[in-house]
Amino acid sequence: MTYTVNDKCIMCKHTDCVEVCPVDCFYEGENMLVINPDECIDCGVCEPECPEDAIRPDTDNEGRAWLDFNRKWSTAGWPVLTTKKDSLDPDGKHRDEPNKLEKYFKDK
């Protein structure tokens, strides 16, 4: 079991989640975060921290659908993020915007 980050994080990246992660398993891309599923201990502490509801357990379908994506990008050389940074979207302009993956995702 693990938690995964989905496309609601893209262009928002509030990073509240990284501060509470006890095992530092968040990796930072240019405009989103992902979780390394093998490092995540499934403590569940990060999930309620996300104001975009972008973190889900893989026990539900939505969380499971992002498992491979999280595994791929967390092992692709993105750096670990352990402290909170300024949000990319403090005014909530990108909140609930559809198709963020197709529109904005960057593989760096």
Binding site: M1, T2, V20, P22, V23, C40, I41, D42, C43, G44, V45, E47, P48, P57, T59, D60
Partner: protein, 509 residues
């Protein structure tokens, strides 16, 4: 060099000591001769009965001086029962578990120095960092060194430091006051070895033998009032396989199938917890081991729980969980950073009920932001979950102490935010913040008398709905008496309570 690992009063007597079972095994596994001696257990059997044993607690806790006859008895015990069993060893590793072990340790070391020549004394355990009894400005370990009552002292996690000392090192992390380093890979540490003890000599709570087990160090959560992170900044955990393997080892070696987890949370890492449960459930099925274990547990949002989770926990032997419910108010629980709701509790109580798992509620009445409506929600909790009291699923409730702003907690950092001031400065503590006599200007209705009133009202409500509460009505009367005394005191004061130095009114302490 022959090593003797020693535990001293006061430890609990219901299970063998785990720390010395680990240290002894670390020494053995590096090829040294070692034996262990539990002087706490020896003292228990030396005294005529349980009552006599517990009567010394106030002495160990530094609440009173021993009488002449008690002191004589302790000295006689050391001289006639301890020293003869210690004299054939060369190096003593004394585990000072906490402040309540410092007095005996000091006496024991004085006797060793006087009667057993050329022995090496190494102290370790949390108690070495406690304030010294004699030299208050020093920590216990340092003071003992200064008095030549020990040769070395180890602070922090001892597993690696012990190995360094065995190699002849007298410097290094954790040794003689140097800052200790936390051990990252706790899976690599040896299991505690209980073969060093006579497991039949403990005062178990049931007919089954029970031992402590440590699955993790630190906590994944940061509940605002809790100071675990001060002592264990980083969360470290063992794999589920490793934990289960330890339990199976104790079962196969000693027939022990009851375990008490000392973890802050046994289900902090659901991954490790789930793996452990799977292995134990399978082992139970194949070997009829009848495992039974208990520990501190956290309720989770329902969506975070895998299907059939509690069936697996029960099959693995999960029997009794202590859960920090704290309040009946979702809002307050959220502000404590607990992150679960009454609905989540509903779901988990039902699951516990279905799978014969017992729960003990741990409560914290009078949180800094608690309003009267929040308190009413706490009172409503007793009716809401009374049916689980009736079925025996809720096995107890501990209403606990009133809130304190402990050093190193997230709440300590929020003192300004809540506009909190303190009603006394307490010379006997290192930090005045530890007192429960505080008030928040942002929540003026929740003054000290109101917190006491809410505590009493909660107690009465628990009794009304037959919740199993520690010493129930008897304890309630004690608290009521103290409240009366306190209110009389406050009424007699002309000055604002903020300026009053309140003595001997540690209501909840």
């Amino acid at each position: 060099m022959k090593n003797l690992v020693i535990s001293v009063p006061r430890l609990e007597i219901h299970r063998p000591p785990i720390s010395t079972a680990i240290v002894a095994e670390v020494i053995r596994s590096t090829g040294h001769l070692v034996q262990a001696l539990d002087l706490n257990c020896e003292f228990f059997h030396y005294l005529p009965n349980r009552q006599s044993y517990y009567s010394y607690d106030e002495i160990w806790d530094h609440e009173r001086q021993p009488t002449f006859s008690e002191l004589k008895n302790i000295c006689k015990f050391i001289k006639s029962k301890c020293l003869p069993r210690m004299k054939s060893y060369d190096r003593y590793w004394i585990s000072v578990f906490g402040g309540s072990a410092t007095m005996f340790t000091e006496l024991l070391c004085r006797f060793i120095r006087k009667y057993l020549k050329n022995k090496v004394i190494v102290l370790g355990g949390q108690g070495v960092n406690d304030a010294s009894i004699v030299k208050k400005e020093m920590q216990f370990g340092e003071a003992m060194m200064k008095e030549n009552l020990c040769d070395l002292y180890i602070s922090g996690e001892g597993e690696h430091s012990v190995v360094e000392v065995l190699k002849g090192e007298i410097r290094g992390p954790g040794i003689n006051g140097e800052t200790p380093v936390q051990i990252d890979d706790i899976d690599s540490l040896p299991f505690p070895n209980y073969s060093f003890y006579n497991l039949d000599s403990y005062d178990y709570l049931t007919k089954n033998k029970e031992v402590f087990i440590v699955g993790s160090r630190g906590c994944v959560r940061r509940c605002t009032y809790c100071d675990v992170a001060k002592y264990w900044p980083k969360f470290r955990y063992r794999s589920g396989t490793n934990i289960a393997q330890e339990m199976i080892t104790h079962y196969e070696r000693h027939g022990v199938n009851n375990f008490y987890f000392t973890d802050s949370l046994i289900n902090g890492s659901m991954k490790a917890f789930g793996d452990m449960c799977e292995i134990l459930a399978k082992y139970n099925q194949d070997h009829h081991a009848n495992f039974s274990w208990k520990g501190q547990f956290i309720f989770r949002p329902k969506r975070q729980l895998p299907k059939d989770h509690f069936a697996l926990v029960s099959a693995a032997g999960g029997k009794e969980f202590y859960v920090g419910v704290e309040t009946g108010s979702d809002k307050i629980r959220w502000e404590m950073d607990k992150k679960f709701t009454n609905e989540d509790i509903d779901f988990q109580l039902e699951e516990f009920n279905k799978h014969n798992i017992n729960v003990i509620f741990l409560m914290l009445i009078g949180y800094v932001t608690e309003r009267i409506d929040d308190h009413k929600e706490t009172l409503a909790m007793f009716k809401r979950w009374q049916k689980y009291v009736a079925t025996g699923t809720i096995k107890g409730i501990d209403l606990g102490q009133s809130l304190r702003f402990l050093e190193g907690t997230p709440l300590e950092k929020q003192i300004k935010q809540h506009d909190v001031y303190f009603l006394r400065s307490d010379e006997s503590r290192k930090n005045y913040i530890s007192t429960n006599l505080w008030q928040s200007k942002k929540n003026p209705d929740l003054d000290v008398p109101e917190r006491i009133r809410r505590r009493i009202e909660t107690h009465e409500e628990a009794i009304k709905y037959n919740w199993p509460i520690w010493r129930g009505a008897q304890r309630l009367n004690v608290i009521k008496g103290m409240m009366e005394k306190y209110l009389k005191f406050l009424q007699g004061q002309k000055e604002h309570p903020k300026k009053v130095v309140i003595e001997n009114l540690n209501f909840f302490e």
